[in-house]
């Protein structure tokens, strides 16, 4: 059995505790990287990370792209949607096809 976690600034994520997810409020870059690594090595299958925080640790996020678990998924925080989540999907298309033929105009 695996658990789910949410990583991000406190204001964006405190509500997820109500759903039973593990809430990890971090804002600092090195702290976030350490926490993400800790969660990924623990029994967490899904880790949601706010886009704002993910922008600070792109290397750490990419590290889990090609592993089966955990799934690191970007979500918008309270400070608005940066479009990083959508960009990530486009990146997958680009990686597979060579260029973004599906969502290039969105």
């Amino acid at each position: 059995m695996y658990r789910m976690a949410v990583l991000g600034d406190k204001d964006s994520i405190y509500g997820y505790a109500a759903l039973g997810m593990e809430v990890c409020p971090v804002t600092d870059e090195s702290q976030a990287a350490r926490k993400l690594r800790e969660l990924a090595e623990g029994d967490y299958a899904v880790i949601y990370v706010t886009e704002a925080l993910a922008a600070k640790i792109p290397g750490e996020i990419d590290r889990y792209r090609e592993q089966m678990l955990p799934a690191v998924i970007l979500i918008p925080g309270v400070y608005g949607n940066t479009g990083a989540g959508i960009a990530n999907v486009k990146k997958s298309v680009e990686q597979a096809v060579g260029s973004d033929i599906l969502f290039g105009n969105q």
């Binding site: 059995m1 658990r3 959508i86």
Partner: protein, 223 residues
């Protein structure tokens, strides 16, 4: 310049390798095409799910910001301190064209929907209830998104790898083998011809030795 030994054994070995490479190339190409087909379907689902989840979260975030504004930090903290609900996921690996993708099944501790409210209603505003329920509404989609997005990422990586292999086989390995095979068979033919010529020459010399054709010819010419 080819660095292969022009021997019959090397030729047999290379022919075997070429056959394997061609078969591998065909199989990998099929794998790539099928992966690509499934990936394109999946990534469209991924995109629409993501848009739906982001829309839902936007609403939830707005509600949370609103709720937070009306309450003190301590109240909010206390409200979420002891969560009644607990969520766990089962990650079953599913093999799609040799790519292992996880299938998530969610298990919550209690099935009662109202258990997401982990606080008494006395000290919190109703905005918080709205916020929590709007977040709970997108929960299923979020898990689905995690599953689909992970599958897309894994498949994209596998497609890239497979494509590289197909290209390497098609443009480098197979032409190289063909070139080497051609070189060896030319060289072997050449050797065979030169052996033949040598034999003919030796035969001529031996006959000359035995019958002295030349001397007889000269004698006839004089006489």
């Amino acid at each position: 310049m080819p660095t292969v030994n022009p021997t019959r054994m090397e030729l047999t070995r290379l022919k075997g390798k070429l056959a394997t490479a061609s078969r591998g190339h065909k199989l990998l190409k099929d794998k790539r095409d099928e992966l690509m087909r499934q990936f394109l379907d999946l990534v469209r689902v991924n995109m629409s799910l993501r848009q739906r989840v982001e829309e839902g979260l936007k609403t939830a975030n707005r509600n949370f910001a609103l709720a937070r504004a009306a309450m003190s930090d301590e109240t909010v903290e206390v409200a979420f301190m002891a969560s009644k609900q607990d969520i766990e996921v089962e990650a079953e690996p599913k093999n799609v064209m040799s790519v292992n993708i996880p299938q998530f099944t969610v298990k919550t501790r209690t099935s009662d929907e109202s258990d997401i409210y982990s606080y008494g209603f006395a000290f919190t505003s109703s905005d918080l209830d709205d916020a929590v329920s709007s977040l709970a509404a997108v929960q299923d989609d979020m898990v689905k998104l995690a599953e689909v997005e992970k599958a897309c990422q894994l498949m994209a990586a596998e497609i890239e790898k497979t494509r590289r292999r197909v290209n390497a086989l098609e443009h480098i390995m197979i032409p190289q083998y063909q070139k080497d095979i051609k070189y060896i068979s030319m060289k072997l033919d050449e050797n065979e011809r030169s052996t033949q010529i040598r034999l003919m020459k030796v035969k001529d010399m031996m006959l000359e030795e035995a019958h002295h054709y030349k001397e007889k010819e000269e004698a006839r010419a004089v006489g």
